[in-house]
């Protein structure tokens, strides 16, 4: 006796922990990574490994020497940021640029706000947009998927489907190719099927709820559908827009980032509708062919406002 612990209830916890959620998302990204290696070869591996390694290293260095706190890289969140950043990059991006992107993603996107859980913007997207603005040429030359024979440095490059839609040239890839991922684009975004398998896994493990991705899909489909019906010569079909570019990757893996998305179910739906609308507007009327990352970052900024004004439905609410 005398050794009994006395603490307030509850005395039991669910087995779900932060690392176990992070590694769950990482596992859900693996099918898309495998498809990417299949289509883009060695380039995918080089870019991904560089991005993950530098994100983890920067987080470790910043925590250890700048913030002088116990490094927490084992929670898996830096690995996830690195993986997501890589998924948003072309598979022929030079190593130096990737490292700069990782430094921005972790240093400015995450640690400057106070580390895990404190950041306003999705760190991986912050890194990607930083690179897009800083290295517009390298960030928009897309290797053509040639399998393992695709070179890393001087890969044959071509236009993305979104580019063709925007500027009305070339013929869009077949829908089956877009589903499988045989098209140009960021290394992790091309295969809709692989990303949807990841989505199913996330739902099965209850890591995320369906609300954000499904609402984004629906919003884009409806909004783009209206435009398409109004003028099919000017606007591409909603199905092509769902499968092209970073929409799947963004809706399933980036917009659902815990830290930067709203807390209540209702808030999540509003946030997702915002992302869908902004994406369609940028894709059809903006100067960039792709608007997913900007849409998510803009709605990230709105998230605190959504959290303030949209509350979960209470039990026994008195109107």
């Amino acid at each position: 006796m005398g050794q009994l612990v006395v603490s307030p209830s509850p005395h039991t916890r669910s087995s779900v922990s932060t690392p176990n959620l992070m590694f769950g998302v990482i596992a859900a990204l693996l099918p898309a990574l495998a498809v990417s290696v299949y289509y883009f070869g060695i380039g995918t591996l080089i870019v991904t490994l560089t991005s993950v390694a530098s994100c983890v290293l920067f987080e470790y260095l910043i925590q250890k020497f700048l913030l002088k706190q116990q490094p927490t890289i084992s929670d898996g969140s830096a690995i996830l940021t690195g993986l997501l950043l890589a998924f948003n990059l072309p598979s022929n991006l030079p190593i130096g640029i990737i490292i700069v992107g990782a430094a921005f993603a972790i240093g400015v996107g995450k640690m400057a706000f106070g580390g895990l859980g404190q950041n306003l913007f999705n760190p991986a997207l912050a890194g990607r947009v930083f690179l897009l603005i800083s290295f517009p040429v390298q960030m928009t030359t897309w290797p053509v998927p040639k399998g393992f024979s695709t070179n890393y440095i001087d890969a044959e490059t071509g236009a993305t489907a979104l580019n063709m839609m925007k500027n009305h040239f070339g013929s869009l890839p077949e829908t089956t190719d877009m589903l499988l991922g045989q098209m140009g684009g960021s290394l992790g975004e091309v295969s809709a099927i692989a990303l949807l398998i990841g989505f199913a896994f996330l739902l099965f493990r209850r890591i995320i709820t369906w609300h954000i991705p499904v609402t984004i899909f629906a919003t884009v489909f409806v909004f783009q559908g209206i435009l398409y019906l109004a003028d099919p010569t000017q606007f591409a079909s909603p199905v092509a827009h769902l499968l092209a570019g970073g929409l799947m990757l963004g809706a399933i893996f980036m917009a659902t980032d815990y830290v930067t998305s709203p807390m209540s179910i209702c808030g999540k739906v509003v946030y997702a509708i915002g992302i869908g609308i902004i994406t369609v507007v940028i894709r059809n009327f903006g100067s960039f062919p792709e608007g997913m990352s900007f849409a998510i970052l803009i709605m990230n900024a709105v998230t605190p406002l959504i959290n303030t004004y949209i509350k979960p439905k209470r039990f026994g609410e008195v109107k």
Binding site: S7, S9, P10, T18, G316
Partner: protein, 443 residues
């Protein structure tokens, strides 16, 4: 077909180790320490003093005010002192100490097993008998039962709900009672229906007790207006507001009582105690206690006299105190960790849970990753992460505006938190402070 409440909830592992163990009588203690505060409300006033001889069932503490309850001797013997005794939580509370001599009961108590089905008393007499017998809510809340049965002026009960949910993991006291005292329980339900003047009663039971569901369903087929409602497994379904919602779809308005939704809820243990009090003239002097956990050799369900030292029940079930890291009065979700084993069984002791050293310590907390799992889990639809932040910053007005007083302290937020943050600790702090502020405003 299985119903449940609509907002939030979690699924802790059930761990009903003692579900198949029949109820056995615990040995009489050598010294019974019977606290005078075993209920919510004012402690009872002792009506015995040192040297008095008492019999089983004799009144030893008189209810002190409207929200209070009588206390009866659970043993026969001599009062050795009326003094302070350390309770489960480590506080000193007044208690009657009785040296046990034999087992002599008051002659007025019917100790036979004969089932008495006919209810002769009218509503007023029933409530009076329940009050005299010192019956309190036996699910753990220990709210005096007669107070709940006194329907306030201008309000009306539409139905009675009997709580047989037992959603706390490990505990099986209510489960065994439903199986072994089914007929008595049904009579108890009918008495309660008569007391509040309703034609309809529901018995809510979770799906992990199929034997109890089928047994009571069979018995209720012969009865008018009593219906067993099987419920989907989900914690905290045994919470009063959640149970009303699961069974009837109604919501108790924020800050109001079940009667405002037309419902009166009583636990199965309470219904059985009501049967004994009204039909057998037996006050509340014993209850079913589950003794279970990792460090218990034979998890058991005991019928124990109020005032039996916890240590004696632990020994009877082969519990190893040395290997235990934490001993809890109640279940793992809402039970209280015990500071000492000298404390005794009270009317609200539904179980004694012994956890090993590994499970005893709280896991290290990490930063909030804003995953919203606590928001999704909260059965009251609150934002626990936010309430914790406000309480940490002592922003009490914001706590109040975000309905911190609606919190039922079920622990779903902490349970679901992947960062293992002590959310409820801070919410309790906030509730306490906001409660004080609200009270001072009213003065």
């Amino acid at each position: 077909m299985f119903k449940t409440f609509k907002i939030g909830g979690v699924h802790p592992e059930a761990n009903k180790l003692s579900a198949a163990k029949a109820i056995v009588d615990a040995q009489l203690p050598k010294v019974a320490i019977i606290p005078l505060a075993q209920h919510i409300g004012a402690p009872a006033n002792a009506v015995v003093q040192k040297g008095d001889k008492v019999k089983v069932g004799q009144l030893i503490g008189e209810a002190n005010g409207f929200v209070s309850a009588n206390i009866h001797s659970s043993v026969s013997g001599t009062v050795s002192k009326v003094d302070l005794a350390v309770d489960v939580a480590g506080f000193k509370k007044p208690a009657v100490f009785i040296d046990v001599e034999g087992d002599e009961w008051l002659e007025t108590i019917d100790r036979t097993d004969t089932l008495i089905e006919e209810i002769k008393d009218d509503a007023k007499t029933i409530v009076g008998k329940i009050k005299d017998a010192g019956i309190v809510g036996m699910g753990g809340a220990t709210f005096p039962a007669h107070v709940k049965l006194a329907i306030p002026e201008g309000k009306k009960a539409d139905f009675l709900i009997i709580n047989g949910v037992e959603c706390e993991p490990y505990l099986t006291a209510d489960h065994r009672l439903m199986l072994e005292k089914s007929r008595e329980l049904i009579v108890g339900v009918k008495i309660l229906m008569k007391a509040i003047g309703v034609e309809k009663a529901y018995i809510g039971i979770e799906a992990n007790k199929p034997d109890a569901i089928s047994k009571l369903t069979d018995l209720c087929a012969k009865e008018q207006g009593i219906e067993v409602v099987p419920l989907k497994l989900k914690y905290p379904q045994g919470g009063e507001k959640q149970l009303i919602n699961a069974v009837s779809g109604r919501e108790v308005p924020s800050g109001k009582l079940p009667i405002d939704a037309g419902a009166v809820v009583q636990n199965v243990g309470t219904a059985f105690a009501v049967y004994e009090a009204v039909q057998k003239n037996k006050p509340l002097i014993e209850r079913i206690v589950t003794v279970t956990g990792d460090t218990v050799a034979t998890p058991s369900n005991f019928r124990a006299r109020i005032g039996t030292p916890v240590a004696e029940l632990i020994a009877a079930a082969g519990g190893d105190v040395e290997k235990s890291g934490k001993i809890i009065s109640g279940g793992p979700m809402m039970g209280k960790a015990m500071a000492n084993l000298e404390s005794t069984v009270t009317k609200g002791t539904s179980g004694i849970l012994m956890l090993n050293e590994e499970k005893a310590v709280r896991p290290e907390a990490g930063p909030c990753i804003r995953c919203a799992k606590c928001v999704d889990a909260c059965p009251m639809g609150l934002e626990p992460y936010l309430l914790m932040q406000y309480s940490q910053r002592q922003m009490w007005a914001e706590d109040e505006a975000n309905h911190i007083m609606d919190c039922i302290e079920c622990g779903c937020c902490i349970f679901s938190c992947p960062a293992k943050r002590p959310i409820l600790d801070y919410v309790r702090l906030g509730k306490n402070t906001v409660g004080k502020i609200i009270r001072s405003r009213k003065q």
